[in-house]
């Protein structure tokens, strides 16, 4: 099981926002956004909620579980 996300799509839907601008908005570094998008880093609940709030979506709209057999 691992965490998937639609963060990249959300950014593009929000006027093709850059990773740096999103990082600035939620108070993390650009590298953190990059790692979350790539699925290398699992964000905390707080950051996931911040991201959802920023895009005006629910956490489940952005993050989902990928089942691996």
């Amino acid at each position: 099981m691992r965490l998937g996300n639609n963060l990249r799509r959300c950014r593009f839907d929000a006027n093709e926002m850059s990773q740096a601008d999103l990082a600035e908005a939620v108070g993390v570094t650009r590298q953190s956004i990059h790692s979350i998008e790539k699925g290398k880093f699992v964000p905390s609940t707080l950051l996931a909620l911040k991201l959802a709030k920023f895009f005006n979506k629910t956490v489940e709209d952005i993050f989902f579980i990928i089942e691996i057999e």
Partner: protein, 300 residues
């Protein structure tokens, strides 16, 4: 860009220009080495004043280079090069000072001093490279200052990366110095009191960057020291540093114990290793920690 940042940039441009001019003067005077080192007059005194100027210029330029991270969105590579070059040049400034002192001593006692003379010129060259690079860097920064925007996320990222790069550079220099000391002086050599001082200077650039981070944190307390990914990377690196350094130090202690000379059917350990284990351990931990932190930050 804030007005005081622009002032700092101009201070750095002036300091770099002044240092370059002074390096030119010193190079001109060094043609008469070693005679000028034993003569006391106004011209030779200026060489000493120059070393003081270089010392403070290094500290101010490095600190400004570090603080300019926020405004150098398009110059992050150049900024990292500046800080790394600054750290190397600072270490060579100290070696420059030592080499001049050694040349004077050797000349007075009639010993050869060719290798020290080489070190003097090499350190002079590295300092010229640093001041020239910083001059170009700050001129470009001053020209771009009107167009630049500031982002906290970029700045925090650069601080983290820069701190770890400086950590790697300082620790490599420190480890090499300890190993060279062991190689030439031997494990049982008694340590002189001033032998320990250079290790303090080697760690100084890292402490300066750390101080710069502290200043930035004080100015922007809301965003914290580092974000959650950096926090996770630091935790993981701390664990790796502990796992690597402890067995290494255990091995080193056993090695030194077995190599120590026997006296009255008892083993004793004395000399260099009893004191130098601390800088050695410190630099090993710093190296492993910085490398893993940087690797995790880029790849995980």
């Amino acid at each position: 860009m804030k007005e005081h940042s622009r002032t700092l940039i101009w201070i750095c441009i002036i300091l770099a220009s002044l240092s370059l001019a002074w390096l030119g003067y010193n190079s001109f005077m060094y043609r008469d080495i070693p005679n000028i080192l034993v003569i006391q007059n106004i011209y030779t005194n200026f060489i000493g004043y120059g070393l003081l100027v270089f010392f403070f210029s290094h500290i101010i330029i490095n600190l400004c280079g570090f603080l300019s991270a926020r405004y150098s969105k398009y110059m992050s590579v150049a900024q990292n090069v500046l800080i790394v070059l600054g750290a190397i040049s600072f270490i060579f400034l100290l070696l420059h000072f030592v080499s001049l002192h050694e040349i004077e001593d050797d000349f007075t006692n009639g010993y050869p001093f060719k290798s020290m003379l080489k070190l003097t010129w090499h350190s002079q060259l590295i300092m010229i490279c640093f001041f020239l690079f910083s001059l170009i860097y700050f001129i470009i920064l001053a020209r771009k200052s009107g167009r630049m925007d500031s982002t906290k996320s970029i700045s925090r990222e650069q601080i983290f990366v820069t701190l770890n790069i400086i950590g790697i550079v300082c620790s490599i220099v420190g480890i090499l110095m300890v190993l060279i000391y062991f190689k030439f002086q031997g494990i049982q050599h008694s340590l002189r009191r001033y032998d320990i001082v250079p290790y303090g200077f080697i760690i100084l650039p890292y402490l300066l960057v750390l101080a710069g981070w502290g200043i930035r944190y004080y100015n922007d307390r809301r965003s914290g020291w580092y974000d959650e990914k950096q926090n996770s990377n630091i935790n993981r690196s701390g664990m790796v540093a502990l796992m690597v350094s402890l067995p290494l130090l255990m091995f080193l202690t056993i090695f030194c114990f077995l190599k120590a000379p026997a006296s009255s059917e008892q083993f004793y350990i004395s000399g260099t290793i009893t004191v130098l284990w601390l800088p050695f351990y410190l630099f090993i931990v710093l190296f492993v920690f910085s490398v893993t932190a940087l690797y995790n930050y880029k790849n995980n």
